[in-house]
Subunit: 301 residues, 4 copies
């Protein structure tokens, strides 16, 4: 018998998903968005903002390991890390696996979401908000980076989608990426989540990729499948001189051996596997000429 309680996630005007709804754990409204913590039958607890799943208990590890370890392993010795967004605390959790980390800033706009995650999502953050190396700042990430006097080993952009009138639309422009570059050390690395790479929906990815290519010499798109996102998901890595493609399996293994705690998704083969783009996407990225600029930021949806 089909269940009676459902979480309906409208992803586009042509597609929606239904998840069985086990429990309504929290509902609220922050200054920026509608916030829900739901328990869904298929993926356990889920953080839902404005009706869309941000991450789910069963597979958030895939997204967060993909986002963090490809760039940090590539860097090799991350001491000072800045995370833009990342309210659930799982991005910090992955960053803190590197024993050499001295300082992690997490800059998130929505203090209410962070408060709710702290209380309801311990499986995500595992207490890492209390680590003395972590500093949470409630601010616009662009403003924070622009005004910062520090240089970072890694800047991780764990942001909402770039939507018209959304809070993150100015965090995907050429000018912003230039500011990120200025705040990286010479061997620093950056990464951004880069939205869908689905067959009918990879425009945002190719524009983000091309925009970052205007700023950084080394740019590597990569992707994986986070099942609760339904469609395959993209990321873009960039740096001045580090290339994730240049790492050998053995180098990755050696670096992994130094980390605190193990991995559930990431491993040396997956590192390279994620960097393999499907042929249609490789071509689309190569042919892309659009650049996302401050004075005409593209709304990708």
């Amino acid at each position: 018998m089909l269940g009676s309680r459902w979480f309906l996630e409208i992803t586009t005007d042509k597609e929606a998903n239904l998840h069985s709804l086990e429990e309504v754990i929290y509902t609220g409204q922050s200054r920026f968005q509608r916030v829900e913590i739901l328990r869904i039958g298929s993926y356990g607890k889920a953080l839902v903002l404005d009706g869309k799943i941000q991450s789910a208990e069963a597979d958030e590890f895939i997204y967060h390991e993909a986002l963090v370890h490809l760039p940090l392993l590539t860097h090799g010795l991350p001491r000072r890390v800045l995370i833009a967004g990342g309210g659930e605390g799982a991005t910090i959790r992955e960053v803190l696996k590197y024993p050499e980390v001295e300082k992690v800033y997490m800059v998130d706009l929505d203090d209410e979401v962070v408060k709710v995650c702290k209380e309801y999502l311990p499986e995500w953050h595992r207490g890492c908000f209390d680590d003395p190396r972590v500093e949470v700042v409630f601010d616009d990430a662009r403003k924070f980076i622009d005004e910062s006097n520090e240089l970072f080993d890694a800047i991780i952009l764990d942001l909402p989608e770039p939507m018209e009138a959304g809070p993150a639309i100015m965090l995907y422009t050429k000018e912003f990426y230039a500011s990120v570059k200025e705040h990286l050390k010479d061997d620093g690395v950056m990464v951004t989540q880069a939205t869908s790479i689905s067959v009918n929906n990879y425009d945002a990815f190719r524009i983000i990729h091309n925009t970052i290519s205007q700023v950084f010499p080394i740019v590597r798109g990569y992707w994986t499948s986070v099942p609760s996102f339904y469609i395959p998901w993209g990321f873009v890595f960039a740096s001045k001189d580090r290339d994730p493609k240049a790492l050998t399996i053995e180098e990755i293994q050696t670096r992994l051996a130094n980390l605190k705690d193990g991995m559930r998704f990431y491993n040396p083969e997956i590192h390279h596997g994620m960097l393999a783009l499907p042929e249609f996407l490789k071509r689309a990225v190569n042919e892309e000429t659009r650049v996302n600029l401050d004075d005409s930021p593209i709304s990708f949806y």
Copy 2:
């Protein structure tokens, strides 16, 4: 405004998907299943059997290129190929890209589905049912293989899910794989679609993998994301002496250059990328001990 017409696909009792429904192109009932050809807003035309999408216009190429080219490129010179299932004709289409192919059998149980696909899905088969090298047989694939006197270069198992009382349940057992092995040349290769590898749903994959490992010395699980399937999808390759992991990028490139028509998904990096299993799945496969046998076939759903 949200549309009014929807295709509801119930994938498990905990999850369902909604696709906007543009057109009802065909509906019917074969001896085995309910058959629909629908045009859905997100993925174009789709073949739907018993309410579940089998393949969709926008991304069938991902599934079919992944299924066919990893084993056939690995083989290198496929002359005689057997396809079990594959009613849409797209698996044949990919096989015929190898100029050395002399004979392709397609053995499918449901003549009605094949007839409907021939008429309504020319984008899939591109006329390849009419190629003189192709012979379509309406029969049980197990019976056909068991009784065949031929040896094949490749056997491609493009089958429905192994469901209780479903037509394919006896096509995932150790005894069946032994029969497949007997009907392969010494350098022959086989591949089977191997269901979901999603975080909460990879039991079938690991059992299929382990079952095939009882029969073949070289077994390689691989996977990719076919967006219209929602969850990441697995395949298992097997052979007596060929290993897809052993191919260099250059070898793949050379072999690709000989093929008729290009690829939209598959390329040398993707070949190896698909073979990279997530850490949790690698462990699950390694730890698996269950074997699927004729006298107690496991229903994976």
Copy 3:
């Protein structure tokens, strides 16, 4: 097994209905609205405007008999009738059952909808658009009535919901009803569909009722259940000197006997049954003081 094709009707932001979708008969877009003719499993063919069922093959007779016969039977001898709206032609069909009818105007804004109904909904109109007594005018009903020099026996307002920016919002105001009154003979009657009377949604009904009460001495709310509308539906009758409550069962029977064709819903008991308002609604109507005026028309949704 639950079907795969569905018509989703979003009725409020808190409720929606799903009907199995058998066939997409027509889809289009007029100047005013999205137009669909769908065949739904539960109610047969349905006219759907902007995603909402207007009437359905299986139960349109309830709505149209309720709308037409309570006022026309009460009048007794309708010769000249004006219908505002009513694009399907079923309102005309019911009016033409009165043998004394000499002229029926149907004034509808959307010629495209009428054209589609003529072609696809013969079960509704039964050819009555071709009756020589019928004149279809594509115009704004308010303008047509304001400018008309005729006096009518009955004016039937078969209109869309009064929604902000909708085409019918000015057809529910005191000034409009005053114009209707001016264009009725002394024994003339009017009726309007009057939206939901559901327990949580009867505000529009009570305001319409009270607004008409500012203009006409005799005002009678009535209601029935049209299953495909889901919620119980209201109507308001008004006249200068005719009262549907005053008719005896015998009078109704006598008048019914003169009509061409029989009834499937309406009968003498139903005539009075529809006039019986639930206690909560009777009180709500009695307590209502709001009046819907031209310079501040209320959007009821």
Copy 4:
């Protein structure tokens, strides 16, 4: 923005309803059925058994007043009343409005449901389970009535739908109604809920009506619209010598004046309005010849 949490009620294989889901108040499983108390946006709290709404906070008064007052007002002086089913306690609540009531038995099979209703649905029962005149018996209602030595003024059958293998299937047969008749005083009355009277779904109603007509000389079908049930709902009244149609408006008013607490739905006009059957239903009932018997009980769904 459409909400994210929904209660899906599948009513037939061709229709389903979605209600916004505010809160999951209780979920459990009794020996007989899945039990949920949900708060839905459109109707407040709702008791949901096996996925189907039994009654909802916003409009349960319509159902319960219709069920109870038409028969009890017709009787005039109910002292001893038996309720079969009625777990929510709202039927008792309505019965206790008659000051002459001395004893109310409520016989319900599912003690778990009654326990849950007692705790979570005080708006329904308003403490009436604690009234000293009330005796709750957990038993099969048929067995209880068959074995009872008492004669009642009124027997109220507030039962689940007659479904195959459902607990109530033997509570809609001729033999059961004969037993009910035997346990009524000479002026006693009975009533049963009698399922849908919708245009495409009134078969159960007409069979129940005809079956009761084999046993009682006076049988009156009646109906109303309970919005949360979506489709119009039927009831059948029966007695040996009392006729609800014979009551005058003044008699009903006089009797109503004696009751404790007022009505929100029922009033003298509604009493007669409910007894007015649509023409198609009147004919269907008149033409019905099927009788529901113990040895071949009809499953109405």
